[in-house]
Symmetry: C2
Subunit: 298 residues, 2 copies
């Protein structure tokens, strides 16, 4: 018997499509209903066998589903939950893949009718591509997925969401929403703020009478790849995870100011210690990443 | 007739070895003498056919050379030029591959005896590997090489160094040392300062009772790859290019503070503009990089 009888996926792109693919491949879902606005993408999803059928109207699409997965931009999730709430079948579980959890979980929990359950989630996976064409069954294999239960979370619903992500191949970790938002602010949102600032600073530097970005080599391009990320998506993240992002931005600014002071006074020994400490941290995560993923499972 | 009769390479690693390989491959060098301290590396260089013979003593090794290429750490270059100066043959050209030019060129020009010539250079190429084993003939293919002549530079010596790098496949650009140091501070040194600071900040964050680096995914790892760079090498660069690095660090800090203010006041439209501007700059360099390299040649 499959884990899920009818799965409704709102937003059939890389994230939603990849979840559907792996659950179908494993025989853990009876039927998949895709919900979205773009007809061409949804028809392609049917052709590819990612979904069985689709609906444009979320309220219609979630009818009869025992699991709803929201894979839409973070700022749309609460509104969609509000829209679908009256149409949810008893016992239905709603979960999401949003990269910010505090605002979403606080907004969604009270919107879900009695007998239905909201469980916040965040699979830490992705590629630079989007749309259902880009989805693939192994996207979540060995990647972390953070689930953020609260004191209101139904235990059975939580277990089922955890199980769903484990079946997708993820290493599931549970933490509270505040910790989640700090962790992603540090490892994802802060690097984006830094990269966007760096590229603007260098790109607008006017001390050389020409755009010096043209001298950039592979290192600069690799380092700044994330500055090519979607401005609208990142605007929404910056607004939704503001407090944690500001905390991490200030933390970075402290370290950066410390390094600036060391460079300004030419303290070679302290500069070397600063760099060596960073290299040690960085090499540590790479070595950890090289461990078999099963060891990371908690 | 080859461009160079006897090439002495001080520091037979990735940079020096790759230059020797391509010049030999093109028949543009008569003999290559490797100079260094590590016997095993130099013997391996002979076995690989990168050099013909080697010497441990720089003064002995440069004897009879018409071109000397210094591919050693930036802080060692002036001392080595001082050491070899009395042993240089008349007409010998000394050039280097150091990633900082102001301090090096100012120190080396007066050290070179009359009739010999110093020309500062900086091939913008590299990989994460080091040692002669890592060298390969196409390292410089299509990459930029910045040559930094001064008012004292001999025209014939300059032409020969430019020709050497063009033969190696580089797109050679000439600029004054101050501009060079600003450009590399912006596109290379600043990103390193930022990456080292970021990894230290996140790695030492103590608000979650555990090391949150363990949650980092591929994006963080890619972004911080340069924080695994050699601390000693980067200490020397920070000391040697201090003024330009401080200028660029302050420029970055201005943009970063501006973004922080936008996030703090939740100005979504301005945040989006900031990100979109950055994306435009970043996409611009990637598109430029995709042009055939011959178009970039100046």
């Amino acid at each position: 018997m499959p884990l899920i009888n009818r799965l409704a996926i709102i937003g059939v792109g890389l994230i939603g499509g990849s979840l559907a693919r792996i659950l179908r491949e494993k025989g853990e879902v009876g039927e998949v209903v895709g919900i979205g606005r773009g007809k061409a993408n949804l028809e392609r999803a049917v052709e590819l066998g990612v979904i069985d059928r689709y609906a444009h109207d979320p309220a219609e699409g979630v009818s009869g589903a025992d699991m709803v997965f929201l894979a839409t931009p973070v700022c749309t999730i609460a509104d969609i939950v509000k829209t679908i709430a009256p149409s949810l079948s008893p016992g239905c579980i709603i979960t999401d893949g949003g990269s910010v959890k505090g605002d979403i979980v606080r907004a969604c929990e009270p919107l879900v009718p009695a007998g239905c359950h909201f469980v916040g989630g965040h699979p830490i996976a992705g590629t630079e591509n989007s749309g259902v064409e880009a989805s693939f069954a192994t996207l979540y294999q060995g990647r972390r997925c953070i689930i953020t239960p609260t004191e209101h979370t139904d235990r059975g619903a939580l277990d089922k969401v955890v199980r769903m992500w484990q079946l997708a191949g993820s290493n599931v970790v549970q933490m509270d929403v505040e910790k989640h938002d700090r962790v992603v602010a540090a490892i994802s949102h802060l690097p984006h703020m830094v990269a966007y600032s760096l590229v603007n600073a260098v790109g607008e530097y006017d001390g050389c009478d020409e755009n010096i970005l043209k001298y950039s080599a592979g290192g600069f391009r690799d380092f700044t790849r994330i500055a090519s990320s979607d401005p609208v998506m990142w605007r929404d993240i910056a607004l939704q995870n503001r407090d944690s992002i500001l905390e991490m931005m200030d933390l970075f600014a402290d370290y950066y100011a410390r390094l600036r002071a060391l460079v300004a006074c030419g303290d070679g020994a302290a500069i070397e210690r600063f760099f060596a400490s960073s290299k040690e941290h960085r090499d540590g995560i790479v070595n950890q990443a090289a461990l078999p993923s099963v060891k990371e499972e908690s």
